[in-house]
């Protein structure tokens, strides 16, 4: 019996999130043929989104509705999906590894008593690849049983192109779930300061590997070499209090694509890379020749920023006659 791939669509503010379409490319790469999309929400908005998904993908879509699914809640998603998916036949349940996806994915796995393989970022010959130790090690994974939850790292696959064929059928089902135990309030958008990413042609970013807050001065001097530049940071550097979270680039921060991205002392965790991989030119400076950041860099420099940046500044001053 062929394995069925369930693609769990995520949506926000009435729009299907792009990570949903990335799941379709992932399933193609793993060789999945039997696909069913599932989208959960409350009427009437969810039915519109289900039709759009069926149109764009050509997939069979199950649209599960309940008034208790009006807002995302982990319990509602888990209970509704548990009611829809029959694990007696082989299946993989594919979910984006977003803050929503990893919220309910492992819960669903535990509820269905099947393993959950999280943050998958590549597939080789049907074997799943995920990062460990900040991308230093890749684990090759084959789920042990016929069924599993697979959460897929956002940005690891391109979103699938819209399907040119006919729209898939949409089956609307009512999910008979109980109200969640939690109370959902309105979303909050914390005030943020503009650090100039939108206008920046050059972003110089600092990671934990710059060593100390004092060394930020070097990053700032390097940035001053360029006319339209901004300072970025990894989550780790922000957590250390070196820079405000407004500077954070990556999954929970901003996504940028400047002409030049210079990663200084950044190991290159996939969460950071997904926020900067589309930069035009990427230069990475790191003492560790195996740092994951070098895999996305156009130019790799194995040096310590403390000694290397001063050399760059000195050389540029000599060339331009301006000191930095």
């Amino acid at each position: 019996m062929r394995r069925r791939f369930y693609i769990i669509a995520l949506h926000a503010h009435g729009k299907i999130l792009p990570e949903t379409y990335e799941l379709i490319s992932f399933v193609r790469d793993i060789g999945g043929e039997e696909k069913t999309g599932i989208i959960l929400g409350s009427k009437p908005g969810i039915v519109m989104m289900a039709r759009e998904l069926a149109q764009k993908t050509g997939m069979d879509i199950i649209c599960a509705t309940s008034k208790y699914l009006e807002n995302y809640n982990a319990q509602g998603y888990k209970d509704a999906l548990k009611g829809l998916i029959d694990c007696t036949d082989p299946c993989y349940i594919c979910i984006p590894h977003t803050a929503t996806g990893f919220d309910f994915g492992p819960l669903l796995g535990a509820a269905l008593n099947i393993p959950c393989i999280s943050a998958i970022e590549d597939v080789h010959d049907g074997v799943l690849i995920r990062s460990m130790f900040g991308g230093r090690i890749h684990a090759r994974i084959k789920p042990p049983g016929p069924c599993a939850i697979l959460t897929v790292q956002p940005g690891a696959w391109e979103g699938s192109a819209a399907c040119s064929g006919p729209a898939g059928p949409v089956r609307i089902v009512h999910s008979d779930i109980s109200p969640g135990k939690t109370i959902i309030h309105k979303l909050k958008v914390p005030a943020s300061k503009d650090v100039g990413f939108a206008d920046a042609e050059v972003i110089i970013s600092a990671g934990r590997g710059i060593g100390s807050e004092q060394n930020l001065a070097l990053i700032k001097r390097l940035a001053a070499m360029f006319q339209r530049s901004a300072i970025g940071a990894t989550r780790a550097a922000c957590d250390l209090g070196w820079l405000g979270y407004d500077h954070q680039i990556g999954v929970t921060g901003r996504t940028v694509s400047p002409r030049l991205y210079m990663a200084c002392g950044i190991s290159g965790a996939v969460q950071h890379i997904s926020g900067m991989r589309n930069s035009r030119l990427i230069v990475a400076i790191n003492t560790d020749p195996h740092a994951a950041i070098f895999r996305v860099a156009s130019y790799c420099i194995v040096e310590d920023i403390k000694t290397f940046i001063p050399l760059v500044l000195e050389e540029y001053s000599r060339m331009s006659g301006i000191s930095f």
């Binding site: 789920p143 042990p144 780790a236 130019y299």
Partner: protein, 260 residues
């Protein structure tokens, strides 16, 4: 009044530089001199628990960790930081355990403990799975919120309001009934350093050791079929030569790309 809080702390190697792969197998070797420490995300969870303890007198904070003998050092660190009791769920293996196995062991312990609140870091820095907390919540039938960046316990200790950090700088706001489980995002607080009085207290304190027999069967549940170093794509060019030569080369590249 006061609550019983359980914080799950994992021990991880301080740096990926001291790990190697055993040739042809899926084992990780921790080189001699490998320094182990508490997972940073768990430090934020522990700090948040200690902040709750300060607001709600009578609250007890327990720290639990799964792992081989060396893990007791991180439990000791939790005691030094301010946890009241430490529990070591000992397993022989220093190798990868599935999140299901880890959660099962903790659930086996926590079931007996009548905890009002269980906290853990959002993920471990080594395995990066983001799963143990959620699976544990499901096993214990607790409501759960992940990626928590703010929490506020109600005065009557019956509910907890949390903000979850989701993509695009947005916070999802939820009130959970207690008992509950929260996984904590980094940056929620600034973890404290151990105080001298806590260090002295922790020195003589016994860590409760529980041998985990059950792990043997769970360890067999192998999902990882191999480990490897990521392949370096050929696209990136490593600049060669002396540091000064690399600096000149970089400036030339930026100049040719019309960035400088």
């Amino acid at each position: 009044m006061g609550m019983n809080i359980l914080v799950c702390v994992k021990q991880v190697p301080d740096s990926a530089d001291t790990i190697e792969l055993c040739e042809g197998s899926s084992r990780i070797i921790y080189k001699e001199g490998t320094v182990f420490r508490m997972n940073r995300y768990d430090e934020f969870a522990l700090e948040e628990a200690l902040l709750i303890k300060e607001c709600f007198p009578g609250t007890i904070v327990d720290a639990v960790s799964v792992g081989p003998d060396r893990v007791s050092l991180s439990i000791r660190k939790a005691l030094e930081t301010g946890a009241d009791q430490g529990i070591h769920l000992r397993v022989e293996s220093d190798q990868y355990l599935t999140p299901f196995a880890r959660a099962s062991l903790i659930a086996g312990f926590a079931r007996a403990g009548s905890y009002d609140l269980i906290m853990a870091g959002i993920m471990a820095e080594d395995d990066m799975e983001c799963q143990v907390g959620q699976i544990l919540a499901e096993m214990l039938c607790l409501p759960c919120a992940t990626s928590v960046i703010f929490q506020e316990m109600s005065k009557d200790e019956k509910t907890v309001y949390v903000e979850r950090e989701i993509e695009g700088g947005v916070h999802e706001c939820i009130t959970l009934p207690m008992p509950a489980l929260l996984t904590i995002q980094s940056g929620i607080n600034t973890p404290r350093y151990p105080s001298l009085s806590n260090v002295l207290r922790a020195r003589s304190q016994k860590i409760e050791m529980i041998e985990s027999q059950m792990a043997a069967a769970l360890i067999m549940d192998r999902t990882v079929i191999g480990l490897g170093y990521p392949r370096q794509p050929s696209a990136g060019e490593y600049l060669e030569g002396t540091p000064a030569a690399k600096a000149s080369a970089l400036l030339k590249i930026l100049h040719e790309a019309a960035i400088l």
